[in-house]
């Protein structure tokens, strides 16, 4: 066995060029697919790092009127926890940001507010100290905190003495009682909490609306997990909980009408369930494309091996004459091919680590820096299977073909006839298949590039030019409503005096940042069971001049004015989408809406055009603007229009606001950055797909070139005769090109047909481009045909350089 491998290795070493190319192609294919798989593994396949994870489920609210899975409210959580019979326990967590004071410095740190049994329920043991306990989670208990491993290392010097130290969160001293295990990030794979606090401290760390929502039965703010009692299935639990949720809807109709409960296995809740399927599809697309590359690499290798088999016919015939059975010959060739696969696979794993880091650098904004995408046993198993599979794919047919030799002809040194031709035509099929596969890869890449162009050139419907954003954490700094409004006025006045500032306004939320606060909006009408009743809708609370400031176009009614304040009846401006949803076919001006828990009718005074507000995609959702003087909200994102580059002005703006109150934390951003982030998906998609497409194209051209070049060598004699008989150069080129044209043509047509059927699976990733976009298909077909013909033409040109005399003597 070892000797067999040594012989195989020697045979490969004999043709270093072939071996290098083959190993590199395989490494590229295996590497790309393994890198993609390591992400799929990290996000979807790694078992949750908790005790008996099969028993853990995530609980979600669903609502008739609002799509998607939502979190739960704390009062509902408390009722479910007290009254269910299927869970050993339920625990909640709430992601929050709290001001952290360290000496002179203030910063906002993110962590989790969790119920007392959270750690015990998950079965997670701190590496130092103790977990939070139920005793910590009672009113009046001294505030304690468990910090993350990263926090412990960076801020507490990884010292064992950290236990017992006090940390100042929102000016309240918390005692450190434990350090969580490294890498523990709670339920979500992409959260990166720095600390865990018991919910008993909520009044100290939640402020303003956050606090209001935390005690509301309506607001869905907390993530809830439960551990099923032994032997209870998910279905049984869901059935047993149904009467509970029905009772909650009857007991609290204003809050819970139309709500029910949905259970999700914990493994599927480690990513926001509403985003999970998108990410999963993106992951699968990556794997599919990487697989496509691997397939093309296999086809290429099979082709190279077939060419090599042609050159090795004498050796193989001789081995057969010396008594080798077909099995022994095939065995020897397979050993060589699998050795190649193993070398390629090994190098592929190395490349995959490198590619993984490259891919990770392209992660969406908001993913943590310290997530681990490891090469674990499962990733290695994938790489090994991919390697074996490729070994089979590219190795078996050539080995079988090569072992079928015409003994006498070869031993008598007669030039081979039929045998060579049949191998040759199979090689043509392989090349056509490669062309087809790369057409698919390139069409997908083309669609993503088109999609990026569309998204970049989109008309926003509002003016994003020279815009800077500054936000101030007034709530965390203990500002009440009066002080906040006062701060706004002073800040507006101050910012307007800065040279280079054209205008300033305020809104509770910026557009397109991915942050999307919603509230219950109930349009009023004859039909009280209106289909929009109680639906969560997006909204913004704004300065009266905000719409004009942003250049938003009104299609009906009026804009806000300074008179829309406490002394006038409340007003709202809605977008066309909300008008159409609430009062189809009617004039919305003068109609009223009501907000949750408030019977005051709010009059619609204006309608704006639908714009790209929450996200870049068209398909606009209902959106409402409220004036800040009537609906106070910690509306504190300053929108600043500058004369020049906003980035240059940010430090000055920051200094000005800082001088108003140095204790207030400020964050600032150039709007171009926001747009860049909003385009992340399109841009990353286009980049990745283009990289895959170019690799596919490159491999395919290599394949075409190799086959055509070999055809020229095989037909040297024929070409020599033609030239000797006085054939024109053009005729010889044509003779060779003809095959190339046919093969490429068949491949391109096949590829286009396949792409037609397949691109609809990427449709949901595309931005306002149809998956069958004719322009993309045409350009790719043209591009591929052009380059492929070039790859045929070079060897064909060389054919005309054949010296007839040498060619005729060469047999």
């Amino acid at each position: 066995m070892i000797q067999d491998l040594r012989l195989a290795l020697r045979s490969l070493a004999k043709s270093p060029g072939f071996t290098t190319v083959a190993v590199l192609m395989l490494a590229l294919g295996v590497g790309a697919s393994t890198a993609c798989f390591s992400f799929l593994n990290a996000f979807f396949l790694r078992p949750p790092p908790f005790e008996r994870p099969d028993e853990l489920v995530s609980l979600h609210s669903t609502e008739d009127k609002t799509p998607g899975l939502m979190r739960l409210s704390v009062p509902n959580f408390t009722d479910y926890r007290a009254n269910n019979t299927v869970f050993t326990d339920l625990a909640l967590h709430l992601f929050l940001g709290v001001r952290f004071t360290e000496g002179e410095n203030n910063s906002i740190l993110f962590g989790h507010l969790v119920s007392g049994s959270y750690f015990d329920l998950l079965g997670v043991k701190p590496v130092l100290g103790r977990p939070l306990s139920v005793a910590d989670d009672v009113e009046g208990a001294p505030p304690v905190v468990v910090v993350s491993h990263a926090f412990w290392q960076t801020r507490l010097a990884a010292s064992p003495e950290a236990l017992g130290r006090t940390l100042l969160f929102n000016n309240v001293p918390f005692t450190v009682v434990g350090v969580a295990p490294a890498g523990f990030r709670g339920i979500s794979v992409i959260d990166a909490p720095d600390y865990w606090m018991p919910t008993s401290v909520y009044r100290s760390v939640l402020l303003g609306q956050g606090l209001e929502f935390f005690i509301s039965r309506r607001a869905v703010t907390v993530s809830v997990i439960g551990r099923l009692k032994p032997g209870v299935t998910l279905g049984q639990a869901a059935a047993s909980l149904k009467p509970l949720s029905e009772k909650l809807a009857i007991d609290f109709p204003a809050d819970n009408a139309g709500r029910s409960l949905r259970l999700v296995p914990i493994a599927q809740a480690m990513l926001d369930p509403n985003r999970r399927s998108d990410l999963l599809r993106a992951g699968n697309l990556l794997i599919a494309l990487a697989g496509l590359i691997l397939l093309i690499a296999c086809a290429n290798l099979a082709n190279l091996l077939l060419a090599r088999a042609g050159a090795r016919q004498r050796e193989i015939a001789l081995r057969v004459a010396l008594g080798a059975s077909r099995g022994q010959v095939v065995g020897q060739l397979l050993r060589e091919n699998f050795l190649l696969a193993a070398l390629g696979g090994g190098l592929g794993v190395v490349i995959s680590v490198w590619l993984r880091d490259l891919l990770w650098a392209l992660r969406p904004p908001g993913f943590p820096d310290n997530m681990e995408v490891n090469v674990d046993g499962r990733v290695l198993a994938f790489a090994v299977s991919a390697t074996i599979l490729t070994g089979l794919l590219f190795g078996v047919v050539p080995a079988l073909a090569a072992s079928r030799v015409d003994l006498i002809a070869i031993l008598k040194r007669v030039p081979s006839g039929d045998n060579g031709l049949s191998i040759f035509s199979f090689r043509h099929v392989l090349v056509a298949a490669q062309v087809a596969l790369s057409v698919v890869a390139l069409v997908i890449a083309g669609l993503f590039v088109r999609s990026l162009n569309q998204a970049s050139a989109v008309t926003l419907g509002w003016n994003s030019r020279n815009l800077a954003l500054m936000s101030a954490d007034l709530v965390q700094s203990g500002y009440n409503q009066t002080r906040t409004l006062e701060y706004y006025q002073r800040a507006l006045a101050r910012l307007r005096t800065v040279p280079g500032v054209l205008d300033v306004s305020i809104a509770s939320r910026p557009f397109l940042t991915g942050v999307n606060p919603q509230r219950t909006i109930k349009p009023q009408g004859e039909d009280e069971a209106l289909r929009t009743r109680g639906r969560f809708m997006s909204f913004a609370v704004v300065q009266p001049d905000f719409l004009r400031f942003m250049g938003l176009e009104l299609v009906a009614g009026r804009d806000f004015s300074v008179d829309d304040n406490g002394t006038h009846p409340p007003a709202v401006i809605i977008n066309e989408a909300m008008a159409r949803l609430a009062w189809p076919g009617q004039d919305p001006i003068g109609k009223t809406i009501k907000l949750y828990n408030d019977e005051t009718p709010v009059q619609v005074v204006g309608v704006t055009r639908n714009i790209r507000d929450v996200e870049l995609r068209a398909d606009p959702a209902p959106f409402a603007f409220f004036p800040v003087a009537q609906f106070f909200e910690a509306a504190n994102v300053f929108h600043i229009r500058t004369a020049g580059n906003p980035t240059d002005l940010l430090p000055t703006l920051r200094k000005e606001l800082q001088s108003l109150d140095p204790a207030v934390n400020l964050r600032s951003i150039d709007y171009r950055e926001v747009i860049r982030n909003a385009l992340w998906g399109s841009r990353t998609g286009a980049t990745l797909m283009s990289v895959f497409g170019v690799i596919a194209l490159f491999l395919t051209l290599l394949g075409i070139y190799a086959v055509m070049a070999q055809a020229v060598v095989q037909r040297t004699r024929e070409i020599g005769i033609c030239l000797a008989l006085g054939a024109q150069t053009r005729a010889v080129v044509g003779l060779i090109l003809k095959r190339g044209v046919i093969v490429t043509g068949v491949g391109v047509l096949g590829g286009l047909a396949a792409a037609c059927g397949l691109t609809r699976y990427v449709g949901s990733f595309l931005f306002e481009v149809k998956p069958t976009d004719p322009l993309t298909f045409a350009v790719i077909a043209g591009l591929l045909s052009g380059v492929a013909l070039l790859a045929c033409y070079i060897p064909a040109r060389r054919a005309t350089k054949v010296d007839p005399l040498i060619a005729l003597r060469s047999e």
Binding site: A321, S325, L411, R413
Partner: protein, 221 residues
């Protein structure tokens, strides 16, 4: 040992069929050293490939070592060939990528001979042919005569009872050719049956009998 009865070999050609061998009937006994002679294109190689079981598309009866070859399936023929036949080629046909030692070992490894036995068999043969010093060289480091020596040694290593050689000295100087013929004679005296194709009357004198072909027909046995 060998008995051919009305063996014919036909090549279908455009204008009709071409008889490469026509009505060949021939007996060869164990221990003979037969030389097949005849002009170029008379069918000598064709006959040898039939005898060597390389070719299976012919008509007639062929008994080899008591087995009716014309009735055997592919696998049985292959087993028969593996067990009893050895070949020497005009152009040596050594494997360029393997050393002398490895070239000699190959037929044994295809016959699943255990490693220990392979070693002793190869060493035996190296000794007998006086090429121990060349065992680690590659074919292209040997002269033509030495290469053919290795070729003969390789044909012999699996202890065949019949050696078939197609113009074994065709590419050699007459001195080297004589060496090979002496070797054949010695092997024949030790009991191996030998059938060779040759153009040289001198080579034929080493044998015990000459069979002449012309235009695919036997003109003397």
């Amino acid at each position: 040992m060998i008995s051919l009865r009305s063996v014919e070999k036909i090549y279908p050609l455009k204008g009709g069929v071409f008889y490469a061998l026509r009505n060949i009937s021939l007996e060869i006994n164990e221990g003979e050293f037969v030389s097949i002679m005849g002009p170029s294109g008379s069918g000598k190689s064709t006959l040898l490939h039939i005898l060597g079981l390389h070719d299976s598309s012919w008509h007639g009866e062929f008994n080899l070592l008591g087995q009716p070859v014309h009735q055997l399936d592919k696998k049985k023929r292959f087993d028969l060939q593996k067990k009893h036949l050895g070949f020497v080629f005009q152009s040596y046909h050594l494997l360029d990528d393997l050393t002398v030692y490895e070239n000699l070992e190959i037929p044994l490894s295809y016959r699943d001979v255990p490693k220990k036995e392979r070693e002793s068999a190869v060493c035996d043969v190296l000794d007998r042919f006086g090429i121990v010093g060349k065992k680690d060289l590659y074919p292209n480091q040997l002269s033509g005569g030495q290469q053919q020596l290795v070729g003969v040694a390789r044909a012999l290593i699996a202890k065949p009872s019949l050696i078939l050689a197609d113009e074994p000295t065709g590419n050699l100087h007459s001195d080297q050719g004589r060496e090979i013929m002496k070797l054949f004679k010695k092997l024949n005296e030790e009991g191996t049956t030998i059938i060779q194709v040759t153009h040289s009357e001198e080579n034929a004198t080493y044998g015990s009998r000459v069979v002449r072909l012309a235009d695919g027909m036997l003109i003397s046995k």
